[in-house]
């Protein structure tokens, strides 16, 4: 019994449940997104093992790497103008990006959900004030805010911590209204649901209602916003780096900064310094966006593609346990269709 429960809970997890109910093109999109995001996450975790050199290493036992060297067996993707190994820099960029996502999204999810629940459930003047503030923040450009933050936190002199926190906090401020609005709207809807009223009739306290009855129901769409925001976080970090507010190359590797340094190389035919960090940004953002978009489509029963009725049996490879109850009828449909 316990085992069965575990399995059903496991398969109800956001991404896994989505993968199970997807078919066709939607499944392909989701799988591509998952593979790209998976590569990103694995790279971020195992960067020290994968990268042949450190992110700020410009020489080894055999001497200096040399600047702007084309790809060679020693340096798979060549070296940069500063004499760093491009391949290693790209690999080391993944943990930096992942940290920014974690800081930004974790901070904003906590703040956004708590504010959303309180604002939606309690209503009144708290609600009105919070909504106005959220609206005001919407009008703020994320990049501008991030630049201000980076100056405030580290006086413009970015190191690893300063750079990540600047980008992370700027993004938090921008993302909080999004989580806040979604949670608040759901809370408002749920507040009128009979099961919340029933808890009220029973005499449950506000905190108990919010935490036990509203919270879990109100946060179902958040994985979706999370993936979409994650890609936005990467873009903002890269944008900051590109503008020169990034992280110093000696503190951490950062794709946007490398792109900026590669600007001048592009016109002189040195393609490898810009291409690989650029690709890393594009593929990571693409992967996260694909996961987010497919989850969005799969969440909505009207957008979700399904196998055509009566064909379940013919795709032997795809037949899952779910189809068992209707097997008897499927045979009949096949006969009818053939006729």
């Amino acid at each position: 019994m316990a085992g069965m429960n575990k399995e059903s809970k496991w398969s109800r997890l956001p991404v896994i449940s989505h993968l199970r109910k997807s078919v066709g093109l939607q499944r392909t999109m989701l799988v591509i997104g998952l593979v790209l995001s998976g590569i990103f996450v694995l790279t971020a975790i195992f960067a020290p093992l994968i990268a042949p050199y450190g992110f700020a290493q410009s020489s080894d036992e055999s001497g200096r790497f040399g600047a702007q060297m084309p790809p060679s067996p020693d340096h798979l993707w060549g070296t940069t103008v500063g004499g760093y190994d491009v391949f290693s820099r790209v690999i080391w960029g993944a943990p930096t990006a992942a940290l920014v996502i974690i800081v930004a999204v974790v901070l904003s999810i906590f703040a956004g959900i708590i504010l959303g629940l309180i604002s939606g459930y309690l209503g009144g003047w708290i609600d009105r004030v919070l909504v106005v503030v959220a609206d005001a923040i919407y009008a703020f450009p994320a990049l501008l805010l991030a630049i201000v933050m980076s100056i405030v936190i580290s006086g413009g002199q970015s190191n690893l911590f300063g750079g990540i926190m600047a980008a992370g906090i700027a993004l938090t401020v921008v993302f909080v209204p999004q989580y806040f609005r979604v949670t608040r709207a759901e809370t408002l809807r749920l507040k009128a649901e009979p099961f919340v009223e029933s808890a009220k009739v029973v005499g449950a306290s506000n905190i108990r209602i919010m935490s036990r009855h509203v919270f879990r129901n109100a946060t179902r769409t958040l994985p979706l916003i999370f993936t979409l925001n994650a890609s936005e976080a990467i873009l903002t970090l890269a944008g900051l780096g590109f503008l020169g507010f990034g992280i110093e190359p000696t503190s951490a590797a950062e794709w946007g900064y490398d792109l900026n340094r590669a600007l001048a190389d592009a016109s002189s035919g040195i393609w490898w310094t810009g291409l690989f960090p650029g690709l890393a940004i594009v593929l990571t953002v693409l992967g996260l966006t694909l996961v987010g978009e497919s989850m969005n489509d799969l969440n909505d029963p009207r957008l979700r593609g399904r196998k055509r009725a009566g064909k379940t049996r013919t795709q032997e490879g795809r037949t899952t346990v779910e189809t068992v109850p209707t097997v008897a009828d499927v045979d009949g449909t096949g006969v009818e269709a053939a006729k």
Binding site: S198, K200, V201, R216, R308, E322
Partner: protein, 560 residues
Amino acid sequence: MTQIATPSNLGKPVLSIDHLKVTFATDGGDVPAVKDVSLDVGSGEVVAIVGESGSGKTVTAKTILGLLPETAVSSGAVVLNGNDVISVSAQKMRQIRGKDVAMVFQEPSTALNPVFTVGWQISEGIRAHGKVSKKEARARAIEALTKVGIPDPEHRVDYYPHQFSGGQKQRVVIAAALALNPGLIVADEPSTALDVTVQAEILQLLRDLRDQYGVSIVLITHNMGVVADLADRVVVMYQGDVVEEADATALFANPQQDYTKKLLAAVPHLGRNSASAGFAASPPKFGEVLVQAKNLEIEYPGRLGQPAFKAVDRVSFQISAGEVYGLVGESGSGKTTIGRCIAGLNRATGGSLKVFDYEMVGFKERTFKPLRKDIGFVFQDPAASFNPHLTIGECVAEPVAIHEKRSARDIRKRVLELMDAVQLPSNFIDRYPHELSGGQRQRASLARALSLNPKLLVADEPTSALDVSVQAKVLELFKEIQAEFGFAALFISHDLAVVDMLAHRVGVLLRGEFVEEGIGNQIMSDPQHPYTQRLVASLPVPDPALQAQRREAHRAMFSS
């Protein structure tokens, strides 16, 4: 496709369905909605398709108009004026819709587009079939509105849907269906969303249309009273199959199949099995007064600059321990507001409402909270009244967990007792609400309401979202449990027959005011106020002969 239609007794059939089969693709695999349905509809005939939810009656109706969603696959033949609807092209289907067959939907307020005038919406169909000038389309829209008995159609053709009442909106929907004089109208639960008195008018209208214009009608309904009132022939469906097909009189007098018999037996009859039988002669003694309302007023605040809306106006009644009090009224009568007010979900604004001697006018949540454990509440929609993330066991245990400090084992034991009391198997304790059927959920809802042995139970339309057969069982259970636990109850319903089965005393509400109050079966059998009389007379009974008599009496009563 071969045409195998058997000629019905009324000449060439307008519609003939032959071995229809519809399967839906869902997340849980294929679901057969209609397995094998064959039926004919003759010209000028009213054929009713009855069945419980999930029987495939609405899917059958939608197939006739080619309105199935993309996930559905259908086979067999649906022949309408020589065209097989299943295999025709989309363009041909568009020509057939409106001209040969039209549809009347369940909910008139959502079937009409709120931003266009009703005249525009009726002419839209007319102008979609051939070139018709604006002027002529308008004239024909007026004609259609006249047919369905909308007063002053020349002016009201330019009204917007919100300017009509619910019954009139349904008339407009019917007018739009009639605009092109189709041979067949498919009416999917045309009166379910309407109040009984309005329902009677709409059924009368459909009957007149059939008599005057010879329109055939396919009537989809779950209400046996409506079937008895209107149908010539009845097709009973169960889980996608036709169980029985017979003339209306024959079916009601002498049902052949077990399922049909069960279905008919489950329909509540007014005056049969009344809870208050014999009370007039010897009124029973109830205990102390639990709820006392004196000139109770409940207002909803109006928008800025608009006056407040008075939902309940000068209502007085009392509920004693052990008594079941029934509140009857149509939508908007304020019956639910009163129930919610007693449970502290709405605020009373005037007069006096005492619940366990606690004055609810100007109540404070903090001081009222200790009393909440003595009030149970059963909500209308069993699907929405449980937190989807908690198991049934956790949901039922919620009140106990809040009010009593007990160990987890103790709570579980209590939940099992309750589940037993409402006749739910004990292994349901670990299931999630969506894994239960509507009836089972409503039992669990009852278990939750009873978990703290409340002195008072408020039941707000607890059975109106359930099928008749399920409703009968839940009502039976309610009656048994009430007798066993002896709590007082406020039972709110729009269905007179249901209230009569359970309530000892009944109050009839009209627009927030009491029009009549007294012993249940006295009010039902001998209503004094004209509104109550109309309410009782409008309720269709599941017996065609008796219903025909009642209809005549009803008409005589209100035309004079």
